[in-house]
């Protein structure tokens, strides 16, 4: 089993953090992982993306060209990565901020009101956690519990209140399609 994932959005949406959380989560579940961010001239408001590979085998290439799953957080990212998804793959997108509709018919497309749901929980910036919850549920790759542990490895300095809120956002996403565990 090898899953190749690309997460893309603008700087400040927690794109890199989401990728690192997925990598931590894979490692917690004893899988082989790589995480590679677009790096360099990045800034808040600019575009950011990262590639994550989670596999039962040692990962050969950390470069993801045809992802199994993409998590798309803003409009420019949809244009950039929709066509790259592997046939039969999964495209999760943040419907709150993306007005265009994906055109692919050979992949599963799931719109998620990530920012709306995050705002309902009291904090727009945790929209990425909602998406990760959906990701865990739809791929079956990682458990909700693992993601909760993984976010604690990423946000080492966060207070308990914030971590609890992140958990709620993960649960929210996880519970969107079917029963929450």
């Amino acid at each position: 089993m090898t899953k190749e994932i690309i997460i893309s959005g603008f700087g400040g949406q927690g794109i890199v953090s989401s990728g690192i959380i997925l990598a931590h989560a894979g490692l917690i579940e004893d899988k082989h992982v790589t995480f590679f961010p677009s790096y360099g001239a990045e800034m808040r408001g600019g575009t950011a993306n990262c590639s994550v590979v989670i596999s039962s085998e040692p990962v050969a290439s950390p470069i993801v060209a045809t992802p199994d799953v993409v998590i798309i957080m803003n409009e420019p990212s949809l244009a950039r990565f929709e066509m790259a998804v592997k046939p039969g793959g999964l495209l999760l997108y943040n419907q709150t901020l993306i007005k265009s509709k994906p055109k692919r018919k050979d992949i599963t497309v799931m719109p998620i009101e990530a920012n709306v749901l995050a705002e309902e929980l009291g904090q727009g910036r945790i929209a990425n956690m909602v998406m990760l919850g959906v990701f865990a549920k739809k791929t079956g790759l990682l458990s909700l519990r693992t993601l909760k542990n993984a976010q604690r490895k990423r946000y080492k300095k966060a207070n308990d209140e914030q971590l609890a809120l992140n958990d709620k956002a993960l649960e929210k996403g996880y519970g969107l399609f079917g029963n929450s565990k």
């Binding site: 490692l27 992982v33 790589t34 590679f36 050969a60 950390p62």
Partner: protein
């Protein structure tokens, strides 16, 4: 099994350097290796070592010369343009037969180039790099685990042969996160034996001199010939490589570092299609693993060299195989990174053409 920790490649180097018993870092910031000095500035202080952000790369390499001449394990890191600035110092260090570790997280060049991953410093690393008759031992990691383990190996080789050692990685390896297992017992710097040439105070003994300068007639020739003998020994004894699926291969891909990871994915794709393709990954770039290649070239008709440059290692492949095989090339220069499918296409083109 020890616990695995998710780490950036650049941070894995820092932990590997400290575990190798090195307590001296001097360097100047440059992308994509800034996480090394950033992390060193905390970790070296934690460990009671020395961290210096120098005024330039030239200062850094010369401070390294001083620290290493005093017998201590010392290292610096930089990226391509910064390493170019250090070449004068590296030549002096090689001329003085002093062991140091230099890490190059390669970016696109020439000139200021860009900050993307590249492998275009192969010639500079494996041909000495500065002026004069010398070589630098050059190791090519391809994972965060290697980045943790290679500093120790580099120091051991550098000290064994009294020669500078390089770790040649690239921006992708530095910026990528992977699991790292702290696979060896950290070395206490105090447990390292004193070097018989080190400048550490001559009270009660003969004075020692470390220099790369000798004007006495015939003396430098003699020194360089002795150094050449050392290089012959290194070439004979220290070639390192890894191979996958080479035993029955019709074609062997040759790639190091990041390219070898991507090539490995392409080789697996080719095998799934029933193509007999193998991978040879040089771990030491100098000394280049010529023996295994010379041997392979007696039975393998086609080699495909993959590099993130316009083709530099390909020269060493040609020298090692002595025109017995066809040498093909796929390169992505200037910060371009190949993807597995494009390497697979090239493999299929070569094997299709060969049929």
């Amino acid at each position: 099994m020890a616990e695995k920790k998710l780490m950036y490649g650049n941070h894995a180097i820092v932990e590997g350097v400290i575990a190798a018993g090195c307590r001296f870092f001097a360097g100047y910031p440059i992308t994509p290796q800034n996480e090394i000095p950033e992390s060193m500035s905390v970790r070296m202080v934690d460990e009671g070592g020395v961290f210096i952000q120098t005024e330039s790369e030239i200062a850094a390499i010369n401070m390294l010369f001083g620290a290493a001449a005093a017998g201590k394990r010392a290292m610096t890191s930089s990226s391509s343009p910064g390493i170019s600035l250090m070449q004068e110092g590296i030549s002096y260090i090689a001329g003085a037969d002093i062991p140091v570790l230099v890490v190059n997280i390669v970016r696109g060049g020439p000139g200021l180039g860009n900050i993307a991953p590249a492998q275009s410093d192969y010639y500079q690393s494996t041909r000495g790099g500065g002026h004069g008759d010398y070589f630098t031992i050059t190791l090519a990691p391809n994972s965060a685990q290697d980045l943790y383990e290679f500093p120790k190996l580099a120091f051991e080789l550098a000290e064994k042969y009294r020669n500078p050692a390089l770790i040649l990685a690239d921006g992708l390896l530095g910026q990528m996160m992977e699991a790292v297992e702290f696979s060896f017992e950290p070395i206490d710097p105090k447990s390292l034996p004193e070097k018989e040439w080190a400048l550490c105070g001559c009270k009660g003994r003969e004075r020692r001199v470390v220099r790369s300068y000798d004007l006495k007639q015939g003396r430098l020739e003699e020194l360089n010939l002795r150094r050449a003998e050392k290089y012959t020994t290194i070439r004979k004894d220290e070639q390192r490589f890894k191979d996958e699926y080479c035993d029955d291969a019709d074609l062997v891909v040759i790639a190091y570092g990041t390219s070898s990871r991507i090539a490995s994915a392409a080789v697996r794709m080719a095998r799934q299609k029933g193509l007999k393709v193998g991978l040879l990954r040089p771990i030491t770039l100098w000394p280049f693993p010529t023996d295994v290649l010379a041997d392979m070239s007696k039975r393998i008709e086609n080699f495909l060299v993959v590099e993130m440059s316009c083709g530099q290692m390909i020269d060493d492949v040609k020298l090692a195989t002595e025109c017995r095989s066809n040498i093909h090339f796929h390169g992505r220069p200037g910060g371009g990174v190949p993807i597995p499918s494009e390497i697979l296409e090239k493999i299929e083109a070569v094997l299709g053409g060969a049929r």
